[in-house]
């Protein structure tokens, strides 16, 4: 299928899309915000392939979808520009080179940590990742409750605490916890008025 955008809209080549999104992938360091910034720079500022409204639309739809949001957004941008082939070019471009670098790095990491110096460095890094994971949860919670009415904040905190306890103390299967949080969230956020509501 071809792009749903008007015929006069830019139609970058598939190889170009692959290369640009490959560059976005391998230059993304430190999480989603850097990937988003790079996508915005490449697709809006440098090339004007998309306008701000279309870019925001791909952002909003990808946030409603499971999996890696940035990868889903790459699929959507590729589809808008060149149809299904564009979706494949952008997503494979974002994933393939960065995955190869990550795999090479993993092999290197495993080899390095086999010698005593590498193992000692890893002994310091492992507890740091535990602290890092708590920090990720803390920052996500802060974002989750920012600017929300008190009832919605309470609902968020109940779900955060409840899912933690279900998995840690009661050893409920994580997939079941996900389903439960979806159902409880649907009830609590609708009641608390914290949902963003119909578009």
């Amino acid at each position: 299928m071809t792009s749903p955008l008007p015929a006069e809209h830019p139609r970058p080549g598939l190889l170009r899309l692959f290369v640009v999104f490959g560059k976005i992938g391998v230059l993304s360091f430190g999480g989603g915000s850097s990937t988003l910034m790079l996508m915005q720079r490449e697709c809006l500022d440098r090339t004007a392939w998309l306008d701000a409204k279309d870019f925001a639309y791909t952002f909003a739809v990808s946030r409603m979808y499971p999996g890696i949001h940035m990868l889903a957004q790459a699929v959507l941008i590729g589809f808008l520009l060149r149809g299904y082939a564009g979706a494949v070019a952008c997503s494979v471009g974002m994933l393939l080179p960065s995955s190869l670098v990550t795999i090479l790095f993993t092999v290197f990491f495993v080899q390095v940590t086999k010698n005593p110096f590498g193992a000692a460095a890893l002994d310091g890094v492992l507890p740091a990742t535990a602290g890092l994971t708590v920090a990720v949860a803390y920052r996500l919670t802060r974002e989750e409750i920012a600017g929300q009415p008190w009832a919605s904040r309470a609902a968020s905190l109940v779900i955060v605490g409840g899912s933690f306890l279900l998995l840690t103390l009661l050893h409920v299967h994580s997939a079941l916890v996900v389903v439960l949080t979806g159902v409880v969230g649907a009830v609590l956020f609708l009641r608390s008025g914290g949902g963003r509501g119909p578009a």
Binding site: L95, D123, L126, T129, A130, A135, S156, S163, L167
Partner: protein, 175 residues
């Protein structure tokens, strides 16, 4: 675990989680706690690799695949991430219709909030496995404070933790 099973597990946890870091607790539950294929220390290594190596947030699934089945496992994990991403085009078709229902939005918010609690549960487990001494606990707490309340680069924080680990080895040799 064979590669097809690994692929299916990665697809399942990705479809059940929203955002790059969200599959971590589900993978930990599935491959760590239930099947005992990946110990907590390897999960911690995967998180570190995911933060240091480039790519969209969420590529820590690749080192986890590597720890299960080597390079083919990592490639299978990458293929699973791609397989999950492509059907977003279906959502593109039904998005306008779905967005009329506030309950969908509220449910997704619930899953996102739940993912935070599940992430905390993984942190709890990794903390228990990687902090055998007060020294290790101090590294974990210091990392939390730096990562949560300052803008210090994560790679710098991890490099500092690695130096502290090396320092204990050298102190042991010198002492």
């Amino acid at each position: 675990m064979d590669l097809l099973s690994l692929f299916l597990v990665c697809v399942k946890v990705s479809f059940l989680s929203f955002g790059g870091t969200a599959p971590l607790p589900l993978l930990h539950d599935e491959l760590g706690r239930r099947r005992a294929l990946v110990p907590d220390a390897d999960f911690a290594s995967a998180i570190a690799i995911g933060r240091i190596a480039p790519g969209p947030n969420g590529l820590f699934v690749l080192p986890i695949g590597y720890f299960v089945a080597g390079v083919p496992g990592a490639l299978v994990a990458a293929a699973a991430l791609w397989t999950v991403a492509m059907p977003v085009l279906i959502l593109l078709k039904v998005h306008h219709w779905l967005s009329r229902f506030a309950v969908v939005d509220a449910g997704v918010r619930g899953i996102q909030a739940g993912a935070i609690g599940l992430t905390l549960a993984v942190a709890w487990s990794i903390m228990a496995a990687t902090t055998p001494t007060p020294f290790h606990l101090a590294i974990a707490v210091a990392t939390f404070v730096l990562a949560a309340f300052t803008s210090v680069d994560v790679v710098l924080i991890l490099a500092g933790a690695a130096l502290l680990g090396l320092g204990t080895l050298l102190r042991g040799h010198l002492g």
